[in-house]
Symmetry: none
Subunit: 196 residues, 4 copies
């Protein structure tokens, strides 16, 4: 008697996640081209061929990991979008959430930081809209904070976040992420307290 459809689905689900985990880590550590399918398979203790039972090809595997990242990211930040709090509070929460996410899922962020550079096209196509929404939201908050040039301010915040990401990812043990995040967040409190 063969396994039931459900049993098969479970096996598929588990194996798929195992492979994705390994791929996430190796892509993040070594980069896309320097990570071979064989390496992924060996690390996951399965045969090279099996990877292709679950993923069409290497690129699709990469994209699936990227999707996984963005889904997780979306979940993490979702609450902030509808928040009724004042801008400086939301920004602070945003920064804290980011920091916590980076601390908890450093592999995820290492993967993203390394790979986002190389797969700009896919990301723009797939998540450009989402990124646009984020930028829009932040710009609105900068307006609320009465910055002279809210859009530039939003872009600057985005750049700071990227910079922090990179540096934290490169040396998580040495980068004083808590203090830096606190410092950045404080900057916006000041802004509200003492607007120019």
């Amino acid at each position: 008697m063969p396994r039931t459809a459900e049993q098969f689905a479970n096996i598929r689900q588990e194996r798929k996640e195992e492979i994705l985990q390994v791929a996430l880590r190796l892509f993040g550590e070594k980069g896309y081209e320097a990570t071979s399918i064989d390496m992924i398979a060996k690390t996951a203790n399965i045969s090279k061929g099996l990877v292709y039972n679950y993923f069409e090809n290497k690129q699709k595997l990469l994209e699936t990991v990227l999707d996984m990242f963005f889904e997780k990211l979306g979940d993490t930040f979702k609450a902030l979008y509808d928040s009724a709090e004042p801008a400086e509070v939301i920004i602070r929460q945003m920064l804290y959430t980011l920091r916590d996410s980076m601390k908890a899922d450093i592999e995820f962020w290492q993967f993203y930081t390394r790979l986002s550079f190389q797969f700009t096209e896919y990301l723009k196509r797939q998540y450009g809209a989402e990124m646009g929404r984020w930028m829009h939201k932040v710009t609105a908050m900068m307006e609320e904070l009465r910055f002279a040039n809210p859009q530039i301010e939003a872009i600057k915040l985005g750049s700071i976040i990227d910079g922090i990401c990179i540096n934290y990812i490169l040396a998580p043990k040495f980068y004083p992420i808590d203090e830096v995040i606190e410092n950045v967040a404080d900057g916006f409190e000041t802004q509200r307290a003492d607007p120019r």
Copy 2:
């Protein structure tokens, strides 16, 4: 009439620089593994074998390009190190110099931004000291500006710069680098004018 030893040395030097130029561009455009030695050779109008006459192997060639980058970077910033100007002026000059360098040598920066992730080890080993000196200088300036936590402030500035770099490199036509740089520089003027 045989060439003199000096002539030979000149030829060597020129050839070497040609190869380095081409390698810089291709590594920056396509990444390290996607750039083949043959591609570099063909673009430089020389034979594959000759590349190995000048560089031990592909990795060494890459490292030499990295060295070239850092040497140029060092030259660019050297004057600022001995400047007697007040901190906020030096910082502004630093940011302007960086911006001008990025605009003028976008290939250089694209190369560095793409590759720095992959060759962290080499960079730390080779240029860790120099980066440390930079950080030290910036921290001193932050002290001069009476920031409560000058070191964190220095680290934050470094992160902002990295973030701006990445984003500018990714979309040089769309990133408002002038405004962002100006905005960042202005932040330090304010600090001096209105210390807390």
Copy 3:
């Protein structure tokens, strides 16, 4: 209520024939190596594993399809072997039968024409005798028609038939099979009417 042994046997037989049908078509369309077992299984709406329940391996499956072809071919031509008609009539009937078979079962013939080259060894071993019998019968008819060299004449007829087959299979819509067959058959009438 468990099925009876007979019911099982029926199921087996039906499944087997389904697989053979699909294999015939796909082998004929794409060739032997370009047709995967998985493809056959999917087209037959069964699992990959089940194919191996019915056929030892891919090669054996192919051979079984070849057997199917020759069995059908034998059935088609059987009547002609015992015919009491004059040679030119039998030859004409033979050619018509062939033409009708090709028109009706073009898949069969496409399969055979594509694959016969690759499995010459099996065919010689398995059906060499039968082919010999056919050649013997045709030679006898050529004798009856008083050809100077009946054996050569038989071989020539065989070659013509093969050539017609190939060309018809390659472009069934464009090859004027009716006229060519008629023309070939007429040749033997002439022979009888006007012997040299």
Copy 4:
């Protein structure tokens, strides 16, 4: 000092021909997909990689062999095109030339007969015009011989030739090619001597 351009060209020419010879034989013996590049390389006593120094990919290698075949074929039959002899003489010469070519270059013909089936598209695209010219010429000759239906007669001759090819290629030692060719050629003499 490197080799001169001429020396390099010679090496390339020789190696290329060696590879083509081996490919011709193996493709003819085993078919296209059943012949691996590694097999070709090993048989030619070179490395797998070198094959790709000379041929873009497997398909291009195959096409080059096909081109080689048609070039040779064209050369062989060229003289017949402008012949002023009567049709039956030209047909006889054509058949003799074909027979001699098959005897002399059996590997070539084995290759062509096996592969022409699989690469119809390329052949039609590349040599369709040439084949059209041949058919046109033969039809004209059949007209000269006052056949009732010259076109059908031309198609029939083409089919006979194909059939002879196949059968000779399958068993060159046993197929009485001389007698069959003679017999076919004689058919057209009769036609002229005793037109209906």
